[in-house]
């Protein structure tokens, strides 16, 4: 027992020592705050996706009957992006926004669905989500959520 206790003591001691070393190491290697350049690049990457999604959202090419997502969902409205996943009657289950986008492409637009993790799908999700920035999350509320009000322009910085 004594031996064991000693081993335990040794183990605890070593943990403390190692932890202390890790703390010191991590302090020494703490990441600096992201630079303005880095933030701008990340932001630009997102906005590129949003702009691509905006174009797809307004394109009749996803469907086969002339309709685009924007016919029924101008400015990304009535997509309730922030309430997914949730039960959706037409999906017949708790589904995701991407599944709903594909349902809309397949049924009302009579088009071919997108790969769920395709660049196009992610861009569409990015656009629809960006139009709801700041809108409160209220899942399971049976009402139509409007997107962010837009006074003029595309509604986001686009170059």
């Amino acid at each position: 027992m004594k031996k064991v206790r000693n081993m335990s003591f040794a183990a605890v001691t070593s943990v403390i020592v190692v932890s202390g070393a890790l703390i010191i190491t991590s302090m020494a290697q703490a990441k600096p705050p992201r630079s303005e350049t880095q933030i701008a690049q990340e932001r630009a990457a997102l906005m590129t996706a949003v702009a691509k999604g905006d174009d797809l959202w307004h394109s009749a090419k996803l469907g086969n009957n002339g309709l685009a997502c924007a016919n029924c969902h101008p400015d990304g409205s009535a997509t309730n992006v922030h309430t997914w996943p949730k039960f959706q009657t037409n999906l017949g289950k708790v589904g995701t926004l991407r599944e709903m986008i594909n349902w809309c492409i397949a049924v009302p637009m009579q088009g071919r669905i997108l790969e769920y993790d395709s660049e196009e799908m992610i861009a569409m999700e990015a656009y629809a989500t960006f139009t709801h920035r700041g809108v409160a999350i209220a899942p399971a509320k049976d009402e139509q959520h409007g997107a962010v009000p837009v006074k003029s322009g595309p509604g986001y910085p686009r170059h």
Binding site: N65, G66, P74, S77, N90, G146, P149, S152, G155
Partner: protein, 338 residues
Amino acid sequence: MKKISRRQFLGMTTKAGAATVFAGIFAPSASSMLGLGGVAEAATKKIKPFTFAVLTDAHLYDIADHKFDHILEKAVSDVNSIKPRPDFVLYAGDLGQSGKKDELIKGKKILDKLKMPYKIIPGEHDYYLDMGQAWRGLFGDEHWSFNHNGVHFIGMNSILVPDFWTLKGLTPKERMGMMEELECHNCGAWGVGEKQLDWLARDVRNVSPDTPVIIMTHSPLWDYYPRWNFQTYDAPQIRETLRKFDKVIAIHGHVHQVVYNEIDNIRSCGLLSTSWPWPYPPVELEYSHIKQRRADPGDFEDGLGGHDIALNADFDAIVHWREFSDLLPDNIKKGLKV
């Protein structure tokens, strides 16, 4: 152009088998201004009760057997089934989607199945491919007025924008493509423009203030949500011109939804489409109890339909949104007194 629309009207009247009843109700406003009958009929406060129907926003595509064709056909059948039969039908614009002549011809063929005459105004989707040329060839004047049973009816083209295409060197198809987007942010705000404002002032100059007036435009005559052109930029001037009347009922398409507003003497009603319902924009509504419920995207007829508007002798109107599904709250299910 007036001759064409009048001939079309009389032709349809004959087809409806009621020429004697309807003859002359769409008397050109010019004769009203000259005091040839129209004014005398309209210058009485009491009116002869009647019902008329309204359809709008079919957004027909140049694609055979498209679902929107069938929805418009259903709405036309529905209007034909209304009893007592509406005296006439008004159509508030966006018969086509991309301004193609074939879309408009297809729409006219369906509308011609109405058992009563109809009058129509253009929407932006009818217009910006050829600046309304095909539309005018099929339907005549973009603005008009007539008197019926003591009510002065006015229709105007409210979707005119300043030229945004010439400097950019856009093709007609590109111009139309931009206008097709509700959120088009380079197209400018819609209005009726100076010429129509002058015409309106002349049209109502000799119409007495106690005359009931109904005005139809594609876009609302109030600032609802300018971003989507749920507005008409020169509506303040229109409202000023119509301010002398005791009561004006304004009906408008474009919004694809039940919506209501009052400004001064004007009571505005938004209309259902026969294509797709639009969500309510992110703004507060003063009459928020006059709305339709959210539509099921899996039901292609949800939130769509036509309208009948019944007027009594005192110009009380019952506006009845004839929604195909059951999306109207109880307070307006049987109509709204306007």
